[in-house]
Amino acid sequence: MFNYIVRRLLLMIPVIIGISMIVFLLINIAPGDPYRAMLETNPNITAEDYENMLRSIGYYDPLPVKYVKWASQVLSGNLGYSIDSKEPIASLLPRRLANTLTLSLPALILSTMIAVPLGVLSATRQYSRLDHILSILAFLGISIPAFFLALLFIKFVAFDLGWFPIQGMGSIMRGYTGWRLVLDRLYHMVLPVTVLTLVQVASRMRYTRSAMLEVIRQDYIRTARAKGLPEKRVIYKHALRNALIPVITVLSMSLGSILSGAVLTETVFMWPGMGTMVYRAISNRDYPVVMAGTMVLAIVMLFANLLADVMYAVVDPRIRYD
């Protein structure tokens, strides 16, 4: 197992280099530069200053030179500065990542806690009315764009009913401290977490249902029933344990996509997470931030995939990696 993980980690290196090259290339063939807007709006900046500023950030270097410069800086631990806010990315990024996790982790936990029991229920009563209703709800949840659901919540629950704040992460103007700050944050989290949870419940419930259906049909379940075990014990002790194996794998694999999938939901709620950060950075041509944000998410994705494979072996003793 240890050797397997080390080998996988080594295999990640070329993939990370590949990803960084593609993202770097894309960003550098993008039209426009970070100071163009400044030149047009700020009359105090002359064309000469503009040229000097571009030269100082290495705008005119050939592409491979730029890439090597960037890569050597990143390897020495320097992620650079945001051109837009002048803040070092090394301090900006962890804060934004933490904000994104504030939404994604509760949604991940809640949705799993809701989806697995519902999926089991749906499978044990296949073709019942309950199963049909849950299936229809799941199909709706899979098919609705998360940001449309978010917009509906903002319009009807936050604006019309006024139950929750419309956007943002906290009432900054109130200057809350201590537990009031925590409560205020929780209050702002309710709607975005609800949207992310609902969307995830749908797909995870479907997944649990089909995993469970597959297991229930197997011989050892018939054996368990035949030897007279109560149905509850058969389902929750014998069947669920094996049905959870693929569910856990899919769960760990989806960690990465959950983070990047929250981009639109974050934007709609103006939640200052990774997604909003990269989106704003792209509109402002703040390329160091785009580069760093995309790379961090890609690396999270890689580790999530590795975690999925490791978890697969951990929860299923039949799987061995040598």
């Binding site: 098919s143 917009l151 319009k155 890609a298």
Partner: protein, 294 residues
């Protein structure tokens, strides 16, 4: 018990397509979904005939007017009829779904088949490329690419297509790996057929069922991608309407809260279309894949 035979007695003597159709017909929900999709396609094609107003004709004196007898779904920020734009919007959204899926199938099948059939170094290189694409945070990459290429319907098609092939490549590779060991492929090789001809005539037809299901679900993905990108203003450019860029209206706070008829119908159309496609895809999978049948 004959539970392990794949075809029951009633299905004997029918071609695989007939068997699949027979099974599919029994799935009422999937039949309905198929009907809805046919209607949507007809609506997109016949848009100029059924739309109550010309597509871009607006009356600036009647901006943001509520749904009424003349304008069933009201008018937008330029006084254009929302129902008309909703009907025309089907063209862009469906086109993006179809073309992006086409792109993803061409890339995915080609690379997957080459990878699985030839193996070795080629396989290794292609699979590393798949690994790289699999790790792209889909939506962020889509935004970056759309910003680079400039917004527009072609960009949306390209972006969704280019980012969504790796999953298919893996599936096709796995199928090809399994099929290429079978006797009929060996026979084809012994007859001296070239590799492209074996892949095209003898291996790919066996992957067809997987492809149909993937393509159906891929179209739904393309439509969702268009919605997201256009909502951010990086997708289909006005004056051409798409359901996504109608949702873009909701970025304006007044429109979001006070003029819901501008954006809710577009969202409902996306939901309805994607829902029908997902139900249809599910039905197709059940009908086409005998292993999954109960």
């Amino acid at each position: 018990m004959s539970s392990n035979s794949l075809v029951n007695s009633k299905e004997r003597g029918l071609s695989p397509a007939q068997v699949a159709w027979k099974r599919f017909k029994k799935n009422r929900l999937a039949m309905w979904a198929g009907g809805v999709i046919i209607l949507l396609v007809l609506m997109a094609i016949a848009a100029p005939l059924i739309a109550p107003y010309p597509r871009d004709q607006g009356d600036l004196s009647k901006r943001f007017s509520k749904p009424s007898r003349e304008h069933w779904l009201g008018t937008d920020d330029m006084g254009r009829d929302v129902l008309t734009r909703l009907i025309y919007g089907a063209q862009a959204s469906l086109a993006v779904g179809l073309v992006s899926t086409g792109i993803s199938i061409v890339i995915g099948v080609t690379l997957g088949a080459i990878s699985g059939y030839f193996g070795g170094l080629v396989d290794n290189l292609i699979m590393r490329l798949v690994d790289i694409f699999m790790c792209f945070p889909f939506f962020l990459m889509a935004i970056v690419m759309a910003a680079v290429l400039g917004p527009g319907i072609r960009t949306v098609m390209l972006v969704s297509g280019v980012l969504s092939w790796p999953g298919l490549a893996r599936i096709v590779r796995a199928e090809v790996l399994a099929i290429k060991e079978r006797e009929f492929v060996e026979a084809a090789r012994a007859l001296g057929l070239s590799a492209p001809s074996i892949i095209w005539h003898h291996i790919l037809p066996n992957v067809f069922a997987v492809l149909v299901v993937y393509a159906t679900l891929g179209i739904a993905g393309g439509i969702l991608g268009e919605a997201g990108l256009s909502y951010l203003g990086l997708g289909v450019k006005p004056p051409q309407p798409s359901w996504g860029n109608m949702l873009h209206m909701a970025q304006n706070f007044t429109a979001l809260t006070n003029y819901p008829w501008l954006w809710i119908p577009a969202g409902i159309m996306i939901l309805l279309t994607v829902l029908s496609i997902n139900v249809l895809g599910d039905g197709l999978r059940d009908a086409l894949d005998p292993k999954l049948r109960q």
